[in-house]
Subunit: 168 residues, 2 copies
């Protein structure tokens, strides 16, 4: 397999994976393209390489910058803007986890907290099942959050090093 084929395959598969996880396919593809590009690319480059419109490119690049996965690069003497992706996969993964937690999980936890205040007849089985489920999910979310913080703070040790041995 040669490079252009491999690149196309990577971009396409990353796009599929993204869409299965609720991430816009084009956003995932732009990300994939920038991940494998040694030099920063312009909007023009992205449009061309992915056959995507200017507007679409702009929106998705902006979204990727909101996630801190992509940065604007200014090349001295050049007028147009260039973009580059964070290449460190560890950082990419923690950024994604952190952002998704913040955007999607936190609002759910907020709702769960409100739902804990439901009042009613104490020996109603319906009520008991409800409060049990809600409190268990909250407990779970709390633990998951702590673990995520720890993972994020662990920096690259987990990825590169011996972190895993702690589990044994």
């Amino acid at each position: 397999m040669n490079l252009p084929e491999a690149k196309a395959q990577f971009i396409q598969s990353w796009g599929v994976l993204g869409s299965q996880w609720g991430i816009n396919r084009t956003m995932a593809q732009v990300h994939a393209l920038l991940l494998v590009s040694p030099e920063p690319l312009s909007a023009e480059d992205i449009m061309e390489q992915l056959s995507v419109s200017r507007g679409n490119t702009n929106m998705n690049v902006r979204e990727l910058m909101d996630w801190d996965l992509v940065n604007k690069v200014i090349i001295p003497g050049e007028r147009r803007e260039y973009f580059t992706a964070e290449k460190d996969i560890w950082k990419v993964a923690t950024l994604i986890m952190y952002q998704r937690k913040k955007r999607e999980l936190d609002p759910m936890v907020k709702v769960l907290n409100q739902l804990s205040e439901v009042k009613g007849d104490a020996d109603n089985a319906e009520l008991k099942a409800f409060t049990d489920t809600v409190s268990n999910i909250k407990k779970f979310a709390g633990q998951a959050e702590k673990t995520l913080d720890t993972i994020i703070k662990a920096e690259e040790n987990w990825f590169w090093g011996s972190f895993i041995k702690l589990f044994k």
Copy 2:
């Protein structure tokens, strides 16, 4: 807040969360409904409580059974089928992680393995960036997989116990 309101809110929010993570909203809602129902429910019950068609209910219940999140329950003397959800949140979480890994991450890893075999001029910067990214993602995926296995094998200790202290 009273129980019916709280239940509706929970089902609705769980549905939103699901759809943000690439899970059909109705599937997530059926799951939520069963999670807070002390007794098994029939297709009829689900249709009614979620205002959803028979076909839709059937498809999503079946999908939830494929994920092992929901089971069919046979009530002696009753003709119709009933459904119940796994209530242990720890098990629910590990089942979801396991299934998504198997269905979505594993295929990506398979592609990455093929892409590792890309051949070309050794001092091409494009090629180097590509192989570096691919090999780092593979490395990351390998570690993540080990961690997931460990978490799954840890059973409920992580959730209920002191697992977290190991990180410190």
